[in-house]
Symmetry: D3
């Protein structure tokens, strides 16, 4: 048997935990990756309520589902971001508070530590051990994303400040993760401190190669940019802490919108790129499976399903089948050995 195929519940937060568990099973998944929003996984309750973790596992087990990771992208985003009105909609009220930027950032940092604690509690309550290390997936935000296009002229001093800010805010968080024996997996993504391989390497250096800082590999954010998303796997080998399976297409549209998005909404027919249901986009999953096998990744393949053009239940179902058809176990035998007499 190859790897477990899980469904990330972040795009299903309008459904209750019980409902999405039943649906995930019926779509064909082996497990779920739980979002810390909607009612799927409540960090505070898990810390406060002794029975919470166990009850989550009961529902999961009732549906025959595994779980390897929890994800708190929305709170993580606020840790380094220049906060604006858009953050209010994605943050828990106690993190947003009065919305004063520095306060928001500090409360977000604290909540990420809480997330690690809750994760540890949850994983410890699992009915069976998987051998896969506990992991919190998430975002980091960035204080320098607005300057990606270097005009007004932007020098390395300016950008260094952004990476220093990141290191200053996240090193204490990572230290707490370490105490809890939990990995943090950054989903490399536009608007984060790392959004391609080069910035990911720089982020690793900024936190001095902290052993708890790794990646939730997701090719969909890299491919349309022109980043070699397979080389990313080979570059970071042992820091691939979790994997998202998500597809994207690019080179589409009518030529009036480019990679920067033209301030138009997803699924607008003019767009150059869009997220697509797995198998409908341009990501080469064959190459990804080969590379994951080469670096020895043995964790789940977690479907983050997002396609503004398709009925989501239709899509999530075909996506589970798609990933299972693509994944395969590596060979244990060298090719010539069996050819010899």
């Amino acid at each position: 048997m190859a790897r477990a195929v899980t469904l990330f519940t972040g795009q299903w937060a309008d459904l209750s935990f019980e409902t999405i568990c039943q649906k995930a099973k019926s779509f064909g998944y082996d497990g779920v990756e739980l979002a810390c929003w909607g009612d799927h996984f409540d960090v505070d309750q898990c810390l406060k309520d002794k029975g919470y973790a166990k009850k989550r596992w009961e529902v999961l087990s009732d549906n025959g589902l595994k779980c390897f990771a929890i994800s708190n992208h929305l709170v993580g985003q606020a840790v380094c971001d220049l906060i604006d009105e858009r953050h209010k909609a994605i943050l828990p009220p106690d993190v947003w508070g009065n919305g004063e930027p520095e306060g928001v950032r500090k409360r977000a940092a604290k909540k990420m530590i809480d997330t690690a604690k809750a994760c540890r509690k949850f994983i410890d309550a699992a009915p069976q051990k998987t051998g896969f290390p506990a992991v919190v997936n998430g975002f980091t935000g960035s204080s320098i994303w607005h300057s990606i296009y270097a005009f007004p002229p932007t020098d390395q001093k300016y950008w260094n400040k952004g990476f220093e800010d990141f290191a200053r805010r996240w090193t204490p968080i990572l230290n707490e993760f370490d105490k809890l024996n939990v990995n943090f997996a950054l989903e490399v993504h536009p608007t984060e401190i790392a959004f391609d391989t080069a910035s990911a390497q720089r982020a690793v250096e900024a936190v001095k190669g902290h052993k708890r800082f790794g990646f939730n590999y997701d090719p969909s954010h890299l491919g349309y940019q022109g980043v070699d998303y397979v080389k990313f796997i080979r570059t970071f080998g042992n820091r691939i802490y979790h994997v998202h399976m998500k597809d994207v297409w690019w080179g589409h549209g009518d030529g009036s919108v480019g990679v920067f998005g033209g301030h138009v909404t997803f699924a607008d027919p003019r767009r150059y790129w869009d997220f697509r249901s797995l198998g409908h986009g341009d990501i080469n999953f064959e190459e990804i499976i080969v590379a994951l096998n080469d670096v020895g990744y043995q964790g789940p393949l977690s479907v983050e399903w997002e396609d503004s053009r398709m009925d989501r239940e239709h899509g999530a179902t075909e996506a589970a089948a798609f990933v299972k058809s693509k994944d395969f176990k590596p060979s244990a035998i060298a090719f010539d050995a069996q050819f010899d007499r």
Copy 2:
């Protein structure tokens, strides 16, 4: 004879006006497009000093150079931007003032009106009329550039506010341009209110199709994004008020940096794209000349030379020759007419 080929002096502001005029001639140019920085064209002096415009023309004529446009990108940038420390380096001290953002924006707006006045005075002082309308090239800045990647989730309401801000700040400026019979030509470019065809169309709508709002067409900012830069010409036909010839390559690098630039410096070998001397990049100038002929553009082809990899004098020389080899006059005859007996 085909179109005049001019050199934009913005990248040569370390040289004096006299020096760059001599050099432009020796490189093979027919004229220059004057930058409003360095000492090439001083807006305030032109307004104050009666003889300024005439003296500029004397130097130009002594070098056998034409001039069709002046350019004030740096000040225009500040009109809509969220001002930060990087703007200080590119603004005249009287526009920067104390650096308080709204004050900077207002002073920048006023300076753009002054630029139009100076342009009018300068063009009126020309020894010969060219028939080409007076034009100020420039940037607009944007209050929403930081949100191009729509996360935290960004809706059209958020973006609309940016276009309204642009309309509110620029309509009065354009009205003054109209009184002066001067066109404003926005160089569609990342960090501006318009950076592709779709946002350019939205900008035109925001200022209600103001007749003084057009474009300084420059393919180098569009091609690497994936925008159809030839279709841009056909879409805006009679709003192409000026043309930059500038080349760019893309699809380069080692796969670790994508279109968003990875916070690395120009000419870093890892980069996906870079500006290149004309003929060294991927822009198809053949198609551009065909489209400019189709829409009837008769103004100058102005070389904005920028290539961090090449000696600039070598490059500017080959660029002048390159543009002349690419440009051609349209046919006056239909193909079959001369075939008939």
Copy 3:
């Protein structure tokens, strides 16, 4: 559930109506598109014989099949064509008559009106209403196809005469269709008045945008020509009255035959293009489904199966499955909505 998948019976006219109905069901189809040749749908009998329509429906229902459209390409072809000996083989004897061209064209026009009448009668006799408007698919012929390559030199005056001829002959037919509340769907195709998007636009203009004149969209006739067959859907949105699913490959052969076909027979290995069973060609059906969803097309996807290289029963079976795997329902939810907390 997505759209109904039907089989066009035109390529199975050697089989009886009953046989093709049984086979269509066994191949996996939801319905059929009936050809007005062979014994599948007899226009004259339907008009004369009161019970004919009802009996057709009984056979269809017995086989669990739906029907949305009837098709009379062969007679439609003769309405505008320069008639030659090849038409005799495809026309009913009463339309061919003595073969005198103008007489043939007039009788063909009359028969197309009869087809609309029969279609109305047939659709009215349906056991259940589908909500999909009654439609007759077909060809128009063209008096100017022979001049596509403009030599001897051909001017727009010459071609205009062809479009005027089309309008003169078809407007009265379309008026009758309107009275009967039946749409005419031209399959845009070489040898017809419209064979690409530009000529289709000109044909629409020729009949002054007649509301009964629309298209039986079929990508296989457009792709190998180099026509953007997806843009066709977006251009004509609400005039897409019916859809054929048919595949084609191009860029094949040994280089000795080009798009014009070299006077060689289909499936000759030297050919540049050939019709292929669905999924064996170069048509991008993913893009087509996306565009059909975008324009709101809700009718059947009708397989016109044609592949000179493959056993047709094998092919028709895999084609039904192929179309079902490609079709999907659009999303009812915006992508970010469910991501918000």
Copy 4:
């Protein structure tokens, strides 16, 4: 020295013979290929007037020009064509006569024989022998061009009749060419009996490999069709009697018009393909020169200049230089020979 570069005068028939000779020289050509229309080469006068040929050569010599071939495409076209109103504009009045189709065809055939006679007389009057055989370039017309798209269904019997018609009409003409020791070089071209490699092979077979039937090779009519225009040279090696250098681009336009031309005029921006000045299109002349060297072609490279987008004098000048830069002499030495010690 490599091959002579000549200018075909067919597109310059609005200019007098003397004028085009002066211009051809000033554009940089070594010679001309004379069209039998305008006043460039008058077949009847050459036959009637003893001094005509000699006087032509005097003008040529005064301008330092060579001449290797005369061309009568317009009359040749009428030999097999289904005659319609468009032929009247391109035929001499004595060939058109009353326009009755069969009469036109017969008079055209006779005129082609006269053309061979005039060619022989002209070549014999040359001040110097070139060693290159006398050649008349031209078209053949076709009675089956209208049926290239095989609908109504068209079988090989139908097409065979077209080739038989061609053989019946042209064999007597070719026999006369043979008596006169003149080659006929068909320009393979849409609307002719041969328009790709396969139909050219069939045409050769139809005239039983007549030694006077060969080709005026012109890649511009083959490339956009998808025909391997380099393989054409290798296929017919010793039947390449003359060569046209003409460029074409394809894959252009806005996707609404395909290879069949959409009944739109040349240079319409929607078009998929158009003739272009040499070096502005997609023909790979490098490969052509290599293949012409391989088959030992030693005649002229004759520029047929046609670009509806460009001033023709600008274009003809750059075309002469372009061809000279592309042509090169083959090696006389094997590569390794000089490497050995």
Copy 5:
């Protein structure tokens, strides 16, 4: 029903004959192609032991398997090769003997004749006749493979000697095959006398078109070289005596290794090409099936499964399904026939 799909047992020689038969059935195969190594098919025993052939068939029949061919690549390789230490590992001890090169080559030649005899005996013992001719697949070796890159300078004289050596050694073997009514099918492959189409043609000529010399067509050895592997089928039509289905990818790696392999091991991530499980590589099997149908090949499609990256049982199972999904029967009907009324 289309063709039988068999599994070549050469890569499973570590398993016993009984085991691989059971597995082949469970993977979904219709039959096996037996390797003459491991214990799958023992040439000597078959010749010595009367009941051997019959017992093999019993095991095959018990597992519902067919068999069309036996394969002796390893011994064939030694017939023409420059023998070195690597051959020892792949040759039966009685062929290797003392390892003196010429002796090895002669014993290998004799063993190939024995293989034909054993094949005849085995096929004659089959419980049912298949109509497919008896065939031994194999290699030939080559005395000139080391000189493929022609340095030190290598002329045709040098290479001719290699083909003469091949003819001298193999003609007697082929004559014995002829007496036994068995075909020899060379798998065209690097290190053999034929490794592309040109060398295969030369090999056929070397043995004067011997009717027993044909090919075991395998696209995986041709595609990554840049050989047109579909044209190979059309070139040799009736000499395609057997077919291997095997996939390969190319254009991979990190650019540090090219087609020559860089002395690195299979599946090294730096490699340009590698064998892959069917459907994971770049071979276009659609085109292959079309061509095999065109030349009338009716034998088995035999999967040679080799992918150093994948669990072989997973791979062999998906490969059987893959081939069955790709194969199809040709049409018995011409496309237009059924369209006529």
Copy 6:
């Protein structure tokens, strides 16, 4: 001024030293790279005859030519090769001797040391110092080239022996080079110990990173293999001791011959690849100049001209002009510096 452009005289060994010097100058070269065969540079004479070096320089200076390197590929080839009859033709008689392989290899090794001595003497005699280190270009041969395709199965042990053999034979030679302060530049090339980037890295490791072991970079041997020839420069930066400018095309032919060459002669129209005159092939010299600038290479660009299809004097002339048009000096200024006011 950019780099010196020299002509490698190896392909002109049929001409005398004086003649090739005159020709090189007339073709437009700045200097020559002297071959140690023909009479261009005689290693033994240079060592024996005191005045030899000085007299060479006199001829060079009389023709205004520089010289940076001498080349002894032919002797170097024999150091590691499995010697066969083909070596006799390329070796000096005193190296070939009786042709016994090990003796040939040892004498070749000794001659390479002599070449370094002669090179030192020659460079010391130069009228002016260039600052560029003395360099001998050459080949190494290889004892394992015959096994590039790993069949019979070839493991790393087998290949390691080849690299060990190389290290054993070349380390003493390199040590002598070091004493003489001369670099050895291996032209990475099929049949050598290094023929791509991976094998070049392994060769460097085999000689323990010997500082005298570097490369004569030549893209023509890498491109057609699929090796990233630009990355090669970045990989070995400071070991690029000399540079050959040589072009090659690939993806040509008729599909019957692949990269392995099919045992057909250069310039055979069936070939997949061939060496071509600069600018006629597929090598991207723009990227090469950029990379050479990035790594700081300041030596000559030496044209090794080889094109079996072209007159060599025509070709060498256009090649000199081509290289000069491609080479350019890097920028001394950062792009934004001059943009700032």
